[in-house]
Amino acid sequence: MDLINFEATELRLGLPGSTDEWDKKSTASPVNTNKRSSSEMGSSVTDETDSSRSPPPAKAQIVGWPPVRTCRKNIIQGKKSEPEMGSGMYVKVSMDGAPYLRKVDLKVCKSYGELLKSLQEMFKCIIGLYSEREGYKSEYAPTYEDKDGDWMLLGDVPWDMFLTSCRRLRIMKSCEVIES
């Protein structure tokens, strides 16, 4: 018995195509109803969860709940877009003179300080401290390739902005850095 189109054959009071709006709005539970228990029907119905272990289905979003104003929601939503990139934000890191590249997870570092610390540990070098005027006073300059393909010195822009534009990192030797 084909139960896929169960809803179409269901007997209800109401015009065809109409749904019980009040019921839908007043329940807070997830949209999954009991009408189609797909897991019991066998493999003919593709289960949404048979691919990679994805997070549980999003709760049915109720209009106007929780009672948070739009301007606040935008702030919260803005922060949430980072985790949705996946379980990590790995970028390639190359260092001039090193035989192979490494990868670092930018999401684990919460700030430039932590990132520089990781890089210094990873490559066993000293990059030093940032200054707006002089960059880094050491033999290395940490740079990153941004969305436009330009190589930028690490530290000029706010951390969040850096996260959205960084494609890969490169630790340049200072003698290679051209002063502009």
Binding site: E21, W22, S26, G64, W65, D156, F162
Partner: protein, 580 residues
């Protein structure tokens, strides 16, 4: 023989009476007091712009200097009121421009204001001083240009949380060089950048500037420049509070804050970078208001700041403060009066954030002056609520939002009836309450029995039957505003309490069980109420009286049915469902 004081003397005496309630009471004493009072009334508050018409207000109070109006229902903040609902300021501003050439102050909340109206304000009122547009919409930066260009004596321009069509940042440059009277500027809701040099020059030539709330686009690196120009500031809203790794910015900021000896309130802090927080430590000891609710800094950093603010009276934060931060708050801030904790995640509990009911219990215990609470959380228990109620009988505002609707007491799995019951029983001066969690009709029985001073009640996903609504309407003597969504309340309770509705400002019910028929009956029985049905599903004429309405908004009025309703709002006529 009855001696009566001369009019001029009475007028002089009345001039010391400023509260609206007292003024209203004075006007009821006798006819001559009514007459004298109405001629010398200088400010009026209209809580529902449709309760009275501009003409009626102008006829009664011919010499007003300040008017405050509110438009849309509160639930409009949460997108429950469709676009085009109403709340237009236009007719009010038009009529006032003719009647009150000396009007100085206009305050609007949840209203639709056009650029034309702003232009009219800027030219019609020669001594215009204060414009506050709170959660308003419908205007652009062009309207602001007119205000800037023409209001020579402007003291206050406050756009809090309004939705402004941001055409450009150039409007700020329209304040003339001769303009020096600014005391308060709030542009925090604006998206686009204003010209920084214009802003700097404006601040520099405003010696009386006490409140400055910047928008996110003002970079942190420029903040110290502004602070040096305005060390007399009392309230500051920063722009974005991060700037890469900039030790020069940090040093400059520290120095600038050091110079601000009058600073009592801080807000802003978008994208806050915790490494810049120590820059403001020098002002912390004087802070009475701190709003960190737009920043996502974590508990240890928040705690460090709060620990230095012993005089804090008002704190707004995200739930990143966690129970640990609230415990610290309870220890350090003995003068705390208001706490608002907003959610960082709108749906599921963020596993990285440990904010539970314990945090609120700690604060209720440690802060003896706590009066006002807004708390978003994921779990609550009756025992915690009872503890809070007993600790803080001086609460006047208690708004609890357990994010998942119908969540029971997490310890006993019971409804939270007795917890909220304790709140209304112990907090005898409670004037505002918002409920959440699993609640039966019983909680409404407690509210009807005990909440005698309650003026505003918000209910969502609660109750079992009409009895719940009946308890509230029949028991809460002081009730002015009632807003309900997704509750099984319907015709019986509504029709059993029609007279009550005329003593209230308004009633909102959405996704409840009220029928078209009941709305018709209510409308017939109570001609002094506007009974407005909001229904976007098409004409009500074709539906049976037994059909349920989507949304219902009922309010008392002396102005009759309104004439600016959109197509999806239906008023019930005596004869039949009829849209004007």
């Amino acid at each position: 023989m009855v001696y009566s004081l001369p009019e001029e003397v009475l007028e002089h005496v009345f001039s010391f009476i400023t509260s609206d309630k007292d003024r209203n009471a004075v006007s009821l004493v006798c006819k001559s007091w009514y007459e004298i009072e109405r001629w010398c009334r200088r400010k009026v508050f209209v809580g529902n712009c449709y309760a009275v018409s501009p003409g009626i207000m102008i006829r009664r109070f011919p010499e007003l200097r300040a008017v405050e109006l509110k438009g849309k229902p509160h639930f409009a903040d949460f997108n429950l009121v469709p676009d085009g609902w109403g709340g237009y300021a236009c007719s009010w501003i038009d009529e006032m421009s003719r009647a009150y050439p000396w009007l100085e102050e206009i305050r609007l909340k949840r209203m639709v204001v056009s650029d034309e109206s702003l232009e009219l304000i800027s030219t019609a009122f020669k001594n215009f001083k204060v414009l506050v547009l709170s959660s308003c919409e419908g205007f652009s930066t062009d309207g602001l240009s007119a205000i800037a260009s023409n209001c020579r004596n402007l003291k206050e321009l406050d756009l809090r949380e309004s939705e402004v069509m941001d055409l450009s940042g150039r409007w700020l440059s329209h304040f003339p060089d001769t303009f020096t009277s600014l005391e308060s500027l709030n542009i925090s809701c604006l998206g686009s950048e204003v010209s920084f040099s214009a802003l700097e020059r404006l601040v520099a030539r405003s010696p009386n500037l006490k409140t400055l709330r910047l928008n996110r686009a003002v970079p942190l690196g420029k903040l110290s420049t502004l602070l040096h120009q305005a060390p007399q500031l009392v309230e500051l809203g920063t722009g974005a509070y991060s700037s890469g790794i900039r030790s020069d910015v940090y040093t400059g900021l520290s120095k600038a804050f050091l110079g601000c000896k009058e600073l009592k309130g801080l807000s802003g802090f978008w994208d806050a970078d915790p490494s810049y927080l120590p820059a403001l430590y020098s002002v912390c000891s004087r802070l009475t208001t701190l709003n960190l609710s737009y920043s996502t800094i974590r508990s240890p950093d928040i705690t460090k700041v709060i620990g230095q603010c012993p005089n804090l009276q008002r704190l707004w934060v995200l739930d990143h403060i966690e129970d640990s931060g609230l415990n610290a708050l309870a220890l350090s801030c003995k003068n705390l009066q208001e706490l608002r904790v907003f959610p960082s995640d709108l749906y599921a509990a963020d596993v990285n954030v440990t904010l539970t009911e314990q945090g609120l219990v700690s604060v209720s215990q440690g802060c003896p002056k706590l009066q006002s609470v807004l708390y978003f959380c994921h779990q609550m228990s009756n025992s915690a609520l009872i503890t809070i109620a007993k600790n803080r009988p001086n609460l006047t505002c208690f708004r609890l939002c357990i994010i998942e609707p119908r969540t029971p007491d997490y310890l006993t799995h019971e409804p939270l009836d007795i917890g909220f019951g304790a709140i209304v029983k112990h907090c005898k001066n409670l004037n505002r309450l918002s409920l959440s969690g699993l609640l039966t009709d019983r909680v409404f029985e407690y509210i009807g029995t005990h909440a005698k001073k309650l003026e505003m009640l918000s209910i969502a996903f609660a109750g079992d039957s009409d009895l719940g609504l009946h308890h509230v309407l029949s028991g809460c003597e002081s009730l002015k505003k009632l807003e309900i969504r997704d509750c099984p309340f319907g015709d019986t309770a509504l029709l059993a309490n029609v007279a009550k509705l005329a003593t209230m400002r308004s009633l909102w019910m959405s996704s409840c069980a009220v029928s078209i028929g009941a709305c018709k009956i209510l409308s017939q029985k109570m001609p002094m109420l506007n009974v407005e049905v909001i229904d976007e599903n098409g004409s009500l004429d074709s539906r049976l009286d037994s059909c349920l309405v989507e949304k219902l908004y009922v309010y008392r009025t002396v102005a009759g049915p309104r004439s600016d309703m959109p197509g999806y709002i239906w008023t019930m006529d005596r004869e039949s469902a009829n849209r004007i």
